[in-house]
């Protein structure tokens, strides 16, 4: 008996906890409302199952408890009942899978007009790179990294010249524009995670991963690392500032490009940089300064 009461209390308690607890999704700041609604659909179906099943359990525990003169009913199986239950379960599963897959379909198809931005992770900080006026990110790899080229851009790639580098500052995003965020790690696995955006993705050294989203709310949000990356994992923070396209353009104009950084680098640093790139001669098509 007490166990039946306990189960009923836990069911109602859980529902009450759900309704009253102050902890729920943070207000969304991106286009991924479809993920939130897939979660809601999943939640409603699961909550219904949770309440129904457990109340049935509690009821059965009371109704069929042992008492003098009471006997159990012998019934090896009842395939009609089992088939019906299977059928309804399948319906419920399909009902939550459909919105889940639909949202995933959007998640994997990046809009053609998405701006490309790169986030680079290293133990335990974030850096960012914008493609500059040409709209193309230059080639980059860990093997090019030097103290003057911390993001490891290929010094010989002309597309990289105008890339804007944010080595320690915040990530800025224009409001309402889809962005494809390319993710690159210099050392171990990390994960780019902004709770308000809902989307997240691992950074995997050796390959470039990505996800896309459209910021829908101005403001400043925390970037966290969501893949265990060592001692400082919990301190690997950054900030993302979502602002109007005008403010964004103004901010971008103040950032320095890879070309400018190279121009300021002393000649000795330059030669290290070029050795890393295996460049014996500077291609004639462009000059360093």
């Amino acid at each position: 008996m007490p166990i039946a009461v306990a189960i009923a209390v836990l069911v109602f308690g859980s529902v009450a906890f759900h309704l009253l607890s102050p902890w729920w999704r943070t207000p969304i700041a991106s286009n991924w409302g479809s993920i939130d609604s897939a979660l809601d659909v999943t939640l409603w179906i699961c909550a219904a199952a949770f309440v129904l099943l457990n109340l049935f359990l509690a009821w059965a525990l009371v109704r069929y408890r042992h008492r003098p003169g009471h006997h159990a009913h012998y019934e090896p199986e009842n395939s009609r009942l089992e088939k019906r239950l299977t059928f309804w379960t399948a319906i419920g599963i399909a009902g939550m899978l459909a919105p889940g897959l639909a949202a995933w379909g959007k998640f994997v198809s990046v809009p053609k007009d998405a701006t490309i931005i790169e986030a680079v992770g290293q133990q335990w900080q974030w850096s960012f790179r914008y493609p500059g006026p040409d709209g193309v990110l230059g080639a980059a790899a860990v093997k090019y990294v030097t103290p003057d080229n911390v993001l490891g851009l290929d010094p010989l790639d002309p597309y990289g010249r105008d890339d804007l580098l944010i080595e320690t500052g915040d990530l800025h995003l224009p409001l309402g524009k889809p962005v494809k965020i390319l993710l690159r790690s210099k050392d171990v696995l990390h994960d780019f995670y902004v709770p308000e955006f809902r989307a997240k993705m691992d950074l995997v050294p050796g390959i470039v991963t990505y996800f896309w989203m459209t910021p829908t709310k101005t403001g400043t949000f925390d970037i966290l690392c969501a893949e265990l990356c060592g001692t400082g994992h919990h301190q690997m923070r950054g900030k993302v500032v979502v602002e109007t396209p005008k403010a964004f353009a103004a901010w971008q104009a103040q950032q320095s490009s890879f070309g400018q950084i190279l121009a300021e680098a002393p000649p000795a640093a330059m030669s290290i940089l070029l050795i890393k790139a295996n460049a014996c001669t500077v291609p004639a098509s462009w000059s360093i300064r």
């Binding site: 090896p76 790899a141 050796g206 390959i207």
Partner: protein, 196 residues
């Protein structure tokens, strides 16, 4: 009774009594079959990893990453030795089935030992030619696969020695089966190495 019928038996009904156990295979045979599955999974996982890792370099921009190893004649010789060893075990198995003692298991075991020695030479040969474990993923996979296979051969030899010492004829059959399985796995490895 086939498996489906056995698994859909309504066992609460009286009709299902089956008191006859004579059709059962021996415990050793069942155990060996189960272990064969374990080996199959293990080696196929490494081989899948091999193919995955090999395919990766293009996508990741390391054109110089994967360099296949050459195939020296010793590879063929070792394979032939292993085949002969398996043949000897097969002869031993047939003899054991007829209830005759034979020397074939000894030959099979000796050839197995030769194979191990040959593999050792093959490693030395590659080392001498500069194909070190860490210098290339192709090498690393080669050493990993041959080492895993070699450990299984060595284990088989120990088991065979124990069987021969205790003169249990039925177990000769299991040894032979195990040996054939290892030959199969070796052939799969060799084909993978030769094709890539």
């Amino acid at each position: 009774m086939n498996l489906i019928a056995r698994l859909s038996e309504r066992s609460w009904e009286p009709a299902s009594d089956r008191l006859d156990l004579s059709h059962r295979p021996s415990a050793g045979a069942v155990g060996l079959a189960a272990y064969a599955a374990v080996m199959a999974v293990m080696f196929s996982l490494v081989m899948v990893a091999y193919v995955m890792r090999m395919g990766l370099h293009a996508a990741m921009g390391h054109a110089d990453d994967w360099v296949a190893m050459p195939h020296p004649p010793l590879l063929w010789i070792n394979s032939a030795v292993l085949v002969m060893s398996s043949v000897a075990w097969e002869v031993a198995r047939r003899a054991a089935e007829r209830g005759e003692a034979s020397r074939a298991p000894l030959l099979g075991g000796a050839l197995g030992l030769c194979f191990l020695g040959g593999q050792w030479l093959l490693w030395r040969h590659y080392q001498a030619a500069g194909y070190y474990l860490a210098s290339n993923p192709a090498n690393a996979f080669f050493y990993l696969l041959t080492a895993l296979h070699g450990v299984h051969i060595a284990g088989g030899l120990v088991a065979a020695a124990w069987v021969l010492a205790s003169r249990t004829l039925p177990h000769v059959r299991l040894c032979a089966l195990y040996w054939h399985l290892l030959l199969l796995i070796w052939m799969a490895i060799a084909v993978l190495l030769l094709l890539t």
